[in-house]
Symmetry: C2
């Protein structure tokens, strides 16, 4: 069982590490971080690099694919070798998954057409141009395609997938192991719950947040 | 404002990245990953490396220190250069923090004596030998020392600290930005909530989980 997590310049670290430290704890599974080139890949703010241990060419048949989001996604929407790789590995995955704006990459590669999917709440509308039906759910399962909402939702997705790849006991064991008993000090985690002024402020900055450009 | 996140061999990735993608989003702050040597530092399972961009010698006066946990913590409990560094930077920090078994490192360096603190639920008892009063709370603030429970709790700690370092609006904005509206598919995130058989199974494996050795 191989789980491949894609890295690219200006990805969001928690998008990748949330699934990694849940799904990646599946007994017997090997997780590999994969990118165009091996070596350090810088995140959205530039303050952190994760190391890609394999190139796209070296990962040809993962059982599970995880595509994180991040501002760098906006540089990768044109068809090309990355989309080709996504389509190639998707042909044999058991699960093809994304966190945050990673779903836009899957959609642009043509993998979500006609399906229901989610993304970061600021990016949901963009799914429509690829023939995808956006939903506001935190984790959406449509066939073998599992998409999660913004950044931190990859933890919930990872646990949900563990339940399907293994069983409830394995998923509950991992949840207890990472002590995932969330107690956010604020209740501001979705546009429905956050103060309206904060939602509007983020909407105003959405182009910056989603692409990293001013 | 500088936030320093410590890395060491066999740390747990989410322990570091949870605070990074919350606290690290503080406007105007610079976050630096620091280790004994610069370059890739491998995590507990070996499947992921994060890059340390600065050595201990190069980070002398961070405003906020974050010490993640992980099995590798057990190799670092003897006094030495790392403990010396922890004590030196702690002398001028505004906040000295930890996630998971990172609190054992702070405790072993003598920084938590006489204080209340938390850790991974499997490691709580170990705090006592350093004169620390363990608590089962998810995030514990005692003076300038903020300790968080296991692995995923660093996200809650990061948001709580943002509220103190900046204000509620900044913290709520970051929470909405990372869409932290947790919806775990199971309710198994603490020993009080998880099925008893799963708690006992993890207790039986605790030496392995906490030290990585069989």
């Amino acid at each position: 069982m191989q789980i491949a997590i894609l890295l690219y310049d200006r990805f969001t670290a928690l998008d990748a590490v949330g699934p990694y430290d849940t799904l990646g704890r599946l007994p017997g599974a090997e997780t590999v971080f994969v990118a165009e080139r091996t070596g350090p890949v810088r995140n959205d703010s530039g303050g952190l690099a994760l190391v890609a241990d394999a190139t796209l060419e070296e990962v040809t048949a993962p059982d599970v694919l995880v595509v994180p989001g991040g501002p760098g996604q906006s540089d990768l929407m044109a068809d090309g070798p990355l989309h080709e790789w996504l389509r190639t590995v998707d042909a044999t995955t058991t699960w093809t998954t994304s966190v945050c704006t990673g779903s836009l990459l899957l959609a642009a590669a043509g993998l979500l057409e006609g399906r229901r999917a989610t993304s970061h709440w600021l990016a949901l509308d963009q799914l429509k141009q690829y023939g995808v039906e956006p939903t506001g759910e935190r984790v959406v399962v449509d066939g073998k395609y599992v998409t999660a909402a913004g950044v931190s939702s990859g933890i919930d997705m990872g646990l949900a997938l563990l339940g399907r790849l293994a069983d409830d006991t394995v998923a509950q064991t991992v949840q207890l192991g990472i002590e995932y008993d969330p107690q956010p000090p604020y209740d501001s985690g979705s546009p429905e719950k956050a103060p309206a002024a904060i939602v509007e402020a983020l909407r105003g900055r959405s182009r910056f947040l989603l692409t990293g450009s001013a």
